[in-house]
Symmetry: C2
Subunit: 313 residues, 2 copies
């Protein structure tokens, strides 16, 4: 029996997972992320957490195949972080430094990319080799799996699909500074915005008029109750996202598209709005795709980090 360690480093907390080499999660635990002083404590804190856990489980470091780390920012193939603002890190040779400090081979990747890898390994898309994962949360994260491996790109910004341009003439900037990114219309905040805009267009009665501040959840709850205005909002959301996914499919020809993040909690109803524009606009040879809801929730990252270590070790 050999072991893998997956570490999902977030801006607030660090999720850690100890796995067997065939991907069974033995235990998981969290530690806080100390971002002060340019995040200088982050790796030492993780090293300590690993040492304690291995001691507790009576596992020697020689039995650990490797450790994968997911971080919020672009990370290249060599595990070098380009920048991770939420951790206080600038350019940082993560894999090298972590390997030295942990005494275990270490590998790094972007957090959205490892989440995709986790879902493709042990989650919704287990058994699929070519996977697009899109995480609809406050923003939109993405990860592309090609032949079972993360598509990292030249600077670790592969799968940044939240910033695909989908609307001309947008007057409000996206968080990234551009105008008209898919994140502005299909994230949780984007859907809420589409709803507010729709409500202002006329006086049509809607359940959405009776909630304080409309959220994406309100929209899908209202859709489930047959609210026509909410259905229109769902159609606009689906049109943006379905077309963007169709374009991604022309580029990478996936066999599965996984939708995760808070918005995906609405359930299969989101596919009612995404699939039709997808199928209408995608190239015929790329049309045959399974749409799946993410399964691993917040554990996708640690699973993907473990798989990263397994692949790279």
């Amino acid at each position: 029996m050999k072991y893998l360690i997956g570490i999902d480093v977030g801006g607030t907390s660090i999720k850690n997972g100890l796995f067997t080499n065939d991907g069974e999660l033995i235990c998981k635990w969290e530690i806080p992320t100390r971002t002060e002083n340019s995040g200088e404590n982050i790796l030492p804190d993780i090293a300590k957490a690993i040492d304690e856990k291995l001691a507790e489980k009576n596992i020697d470091k020689s039995e650990v195949i490797g450790c994968g780390l997911g971080v919020p920012g672009p990370v290249n193939e060599e595990g070098v972080v380009q920048r991770a603002v939420n951790l206080g890190w600038g350019y940082f040779p993560l894999a090298e430094k972590a390997g030295e400090l942990f005494g275990i081979k270490a590998y790094g990747a972007n957090d959205a990319n490892v989440a995709a890898l986790g879902e493709a390994w042990k989650g919704a898309a287990a058994g699929y080799a070519n996977v697009v994962m899109v995480t609809l949360g406050t923003g939109i994260g993405g990860g592309i799996i090609v032949n079972g491996k993360i598509l990292t790109g030249c600077r670790g910004a592969g799968g940044e699909i939240g910033h695909m341009h989908v609307r001309d003439g947008e007057t409000k900037p996206c968080g990234c500074g551009n105008y008209g990114c898919i994140e502005q219309y299909a994230s949780a905040t984007g859907i809420a915005r589409l709803a507010r805009e729709r409500l202002m267009e006329n006086d049509d009665e809607s359940l959405l008029r009776h909630v304080g501040s409309v959220s994406a959840k309100d929209v899908f709850d209202a859709i489930k109750q047959g609210d026509e205005v909410a259905v229109e909002v769902g159609q606009r959301f689906g049109d943006y996202l379905g077309k963007a996914l169709a374009n991604i499919a022309c580029v990478v020809n996936p066999d599965a598209i996984v939708i995760g993040g808070g918005v995906s909690k609405a359930g299969p109803v989101i596919f009612d709005y995404v699939k039709e524009p997808f199928e209408k606009n995608v190239f015929h040879a790329c049309r045959q795709v399974d749409f799946l809801l993410a399964k691993l929730d917040n554990d996708a990252g640690i699973y993907g980090c473990a798989k990263l270590a397994l692949d790279k070790a």
Copy 2:
């Protein structure tokens, strides 16, 4: 010294190349493509051509590392053709059949994808690991290279970027049956169409009014002479293509974009129109990309086929 063979199978002719294992082209030659009877003669004709060439050069088959074949249609990772209408082939286990017939290990891929691999190996993008190639001809072909390897996708339709959806409300169908594909605006025929549409908008004087039937070449020739209407056509072309390339860059984060095909003969002037909309719309972490003109012309395919054999053997 070992050898590689690259075979670019087109609907009219088959281009063959004999290479050293480090990618030096020793000789190239063509044979006609006999598509009758569901293309049953194509592989036997190639087998004969290979045997004759190896005999002429005094090369034993044991000295040949492998043979790559590029075909016009989707080909999966295992070298199985899904369909190649121009060759008369339906579903066809190309790599397996070719290997048996040639007595040499054989591998198959899509022709646009091997052209991208050729340019990334020995052409414009030599030294770049993550490359997007777009071929602007009668239609638009594409190929994506990730970490030096073809992005094949689940059914061999990776890199079909000519059919990305870029315009809503299109009333004329694309060759693929969809409406609003980038091929309808940025291919040679697409540029000619944009020119015709522009000329009909008003009576502005233009050199383009004095050619019989406007071609993409006419447009770029007129641009070089300062023709304002042609410049507007160039801007519209660049806006479509630049935005599509920006979206591709968000997905695959390339370090180089290579533009080839007949339209690229216009030269660097095309970048004047493509780069600005690209840079304006691309995600900042994916912005740093070198734009390059294809170098290998019609030989890109045989180079890429040879590299395919080198990688897979």
